[in-house]
């Protein structure tokens, strides 16, 4: 996993609530057996019409936001399907941070597995960022170490994050490798369970 430390990037405003993972990456892109190459599918139905032409009114198709690195979205972002293709697609597009008032649990969790930083800010702070990003003044700075988002006008917002997740993200640690260091504990647990719940052990 690529570490996330600090970025300065353009922010794109997407002022809708309950953006679900079906919208972030529609089903036809889930048939891949790869993690890469999903950028084209990102927000596909928002970005392209039925003939496959770009819809110019969608924010990520506008010249000012085509190379956005941060997405500012309405509440409950990432609800719905557990598909990890959603963070993969955002990252493949170049978005490494999503800011919202709230995220759905599974999506939030999936972000941390991939080095995509989900930042929860208060409603008025998201509103402020949204307004400034819409106004065309839109480079924000996100600092994970300091746990701050600096708005284009210089205002600084702090955010909370679980320390364990922060540590893994800053260092790009592989969760499986970490857990495998505790293989002995897993052995002990399994041994005990085989005695307590023997019907779960199949011959």
């Amino acid at each position: 996993m690529k570490p996330f430390t600090k970025i300065d990037a353009k922010a794109a405003p997407l002022a809708l609530s309950n953006i679900d993972t079906d919208q972030i990456i529609p089903k036809q892109f889930l048939k891949t057996v790869e993690r890469e190459g999903l950028a084209r599918g990102l927000f596909y139905d928002f970005r392209f019409d039925e003939a496959g032409n770009e819809k110019t009114d969608f924010v990520l198709n506008q010249p000012a936001y085509k190379d956005a690195g941060v997405l500012v979205a309405g509440d409950n972002f990432g609800c719905g399907s557990s598909r990890e293709h959603a963070p993969w697609a955002l990252l493949d597009f170049g978005i490494t941070c999503v800011i919202s008032t709230s995220f759905a649990d599974i999506f939030y969790n999936n972000c941390f597995q991939n080095g995509l930083l989900p930042v929860v800010l208060k409603a008025h702070e998201v509103e402020t960022l949204m307004a400034q990003a819409r106004g065309g003044n839109h480079v924000v700075s996100v600092d994970l170490e300091a746990q701050t988002v600096t708005a284009p006008d210089g205002e600084v917002f702090g955010f909370d994050i679980d320390p364990a997740r922060k540590h893994k993200m800053l260092n790009g640690l592989d969760a499986i490798g970490e857990t495998l260091q505790r293989a002995a504990d897993i052995d002990v647990y399994e041994g005990r369970r085989a005695l307590d719940n023997p019907w779960l052990e199949r011959a």
Partner: protein, 474 residues
């Protein structure tokens, strides 16, 4: 000792270790399918890591499979990418010694139908699957959660998950529902009440007499939709209904092991006096047959109601989302929802494709049929059983004959039009009465318009040709 909730008890029974402020919990059962696993197996291979407990893993083919011609096997699937995913799964399970029910096997079907049906899902377990509706298995008093592909890889490699504990929420549904109102309506009522983010960060335990009175199928419907309320898992404490369902299932313990397991299962309930972080109480008698009007499962309304006005919503975000939803759905504020004419009816998905769901729908269809009514001429209606075994049982009971006589298409099992990854999907602008779980834009096909409702309501809509009140049909 402090009083514990059901969730606390399951959690405590699965603690392996604490590391860097995260908890490592053991996973008893890992269900896998073709769509969210190829990258996980590829990751294992790249790192030379074996699957730790193939025996605690079960694979099915469901999301991508066509709903006809399944006996021909994965190699015959027309869609090239779907075929590749299915064949990739077949190779991965063979390489790793994982039990697998291939397409066409009687035991195959939607992962959340198969696990319980086989008796693999058991009370007090921790269960994961790379699918958000894993919450379904909570109906057995198992902590069942949807995970992403990286976590699938983590569980394959370690049989554990790193997690922080969620909060406890209890939803009590008291009273007795009116005829025609059931588990799907309960679930939609809960989502309507707390919103799609209302359960975020929580595990919801369902309690109350109306929940206790539900069959296992009903409880699975309720827990299935818990994810649409934002909660990662739903739970119902196991009771005699649960144990009766378990008895004799292929993977259920037998003989002396059954007695031992039963004693263990009976320890999973919320202690008297345990405190929940939040509580909600609903009276089942107040719930009318519900239907969604918008593009989020929280957009629910009684079938007798009028489509809401976006201006009536509290925040600018919500007003914008509601206006967009009405536009997408082709509905006008103030119109009776029952006027909405449907083009398609879909009875299926892990929410409502079990035998009881099919019986409920067939009862409505049969009564109408005896009164000389068939599926409305402009409606294409399909029934997709949740598994090969559900299909076989329905055929034994003659339900397929009722559906077919009335003009329904009777298909082979799979996710089908729930998400339209296979050829079953809506055309742009088509309106569908669907027993599935998500009415998101494009979920059932680009531009498709989905109304979520119960199997009996879906059957009523098929006959009426528009969204209809099931109470007029029973």
């Amino acid at each position: 000792m402090a009083a514990k909730t059901l969730y606390d008890k399951i959690w405590d029974a699965h603690l392996v270790a604490e590391q860097d402020g995260e908890t490592i919990i053991y996973i008893d059962l890992h269900l896998i399918h073709e769509v969210t696993t190829p990258q996980a197996f590829a990751g294992l291979r790249a790192n030379g890591r074996p699957v730790r407990r193939p025996d605690r893993t079960l694979a099915v083919a469901d999301h991508n499979v066509p709903t006809e011609g399944q006996a021909l096997g994965a190699g015959a699937v027309a869609d090239e990418e779907a075929r590749l995913q299915l064949l990739t799964l077949e190779r991965n399970v063979a390489d790793n010694g994982i039990e697998y029910f291939p397409m066409g096997d009687l035991r195959n079907g939607i992962v959340h139908v198969v696990g319980p049906e086989q008796g693999r899902t058991q009370p007090g377990m921790t269960i994961v699957c790379g699918d958000s509706h894993t919450s379904t298995h909570g109906a057995f008093g198992a902590l069942a959660q949807g995970i992403g592909t990286s976590e699938v890889e983590h569980v394959l490699a370690t049989q554990t998950l790193r997690q922080a504990k969620s909060k406890n929420m209890r939803v009590t549904i008291d009273g007795t529902p009116a005829p025609g109102v059931g588990a799907k309506d309960f679930a939609l009522a809960v989502i309507g009440a707390i919103g799609t983010a209302g359960g975020t960060g929580h595990v919801i335990e369902y309690a109350g007499e109306a929940v206790a009175a539900l069959s296992m199928e009903g409880r699975m419907t309720l827990c299935n939709l818990t994810i649409e309320a934002g909660a990662r898992a739903g739970l119902v404490a196991p009771d005699e209904t649960t144990f009766d369902y378990m008895r004799g299932r292929p993977a259920a313990p037998k003989g002396g092991a059954w007695d031992m397991a039963l004693a263990h299962w009976k320890s999973f309930f919320t202690d008297e006096g345990a405190v929940f972080d939040s509580e909600i109480v609903i009276n089942a008698a107040d719930i009318a047959p519900l239907v969604t009007w918008g593009t989020s499962p929280e957009d629910v309304m009684p079938i007798t109601g009028l489509v809401p006005d976006p201006a009536s919503f509290a925040t600018p975000d919500k007003r914008a989302s509601a206006a967009r939803a009405l536009d997408y759905m082709g509905l006008i504020a103030g119109q009776p929802i029952s006027e909405a004419k449907v083009d398609r009816v879909f009875i299926g998905s892990c929410t409502n494709s079990r035998i009881e769901d099919l019986r409920a729908a067939a009862a409505v269809v049969q009564k109408a049929f005896l009164e000389g009514r068939l599926v409305a001429p402009h409606v294409t209606a399909m029934v997709v059983p949740g598994s090969g075994l559900v299909k076989a049982q329905a055929e034994d009971e003659g339900l397929d004959a009722i559906f077919k006589a009335a003009g329904f298409d009777w298909r082979e099992p799979g996710c089908s039009m729930c998400l339209g990854m296979n050829p079953d999907r809506l055309a742009p602008g088509e309106r569908c009465a669907s027993t599935s779980n998500r009415n998101f834009e494009g979920r059932q096909g680009r531009g498709g318009r989905t109304h979520l409702l119960s199997p009996a309501m879906a059957a009523a809509a098929a006959i009426a040709g528009h969204l209809a009140d099931v109470r007029d049909f029973i």
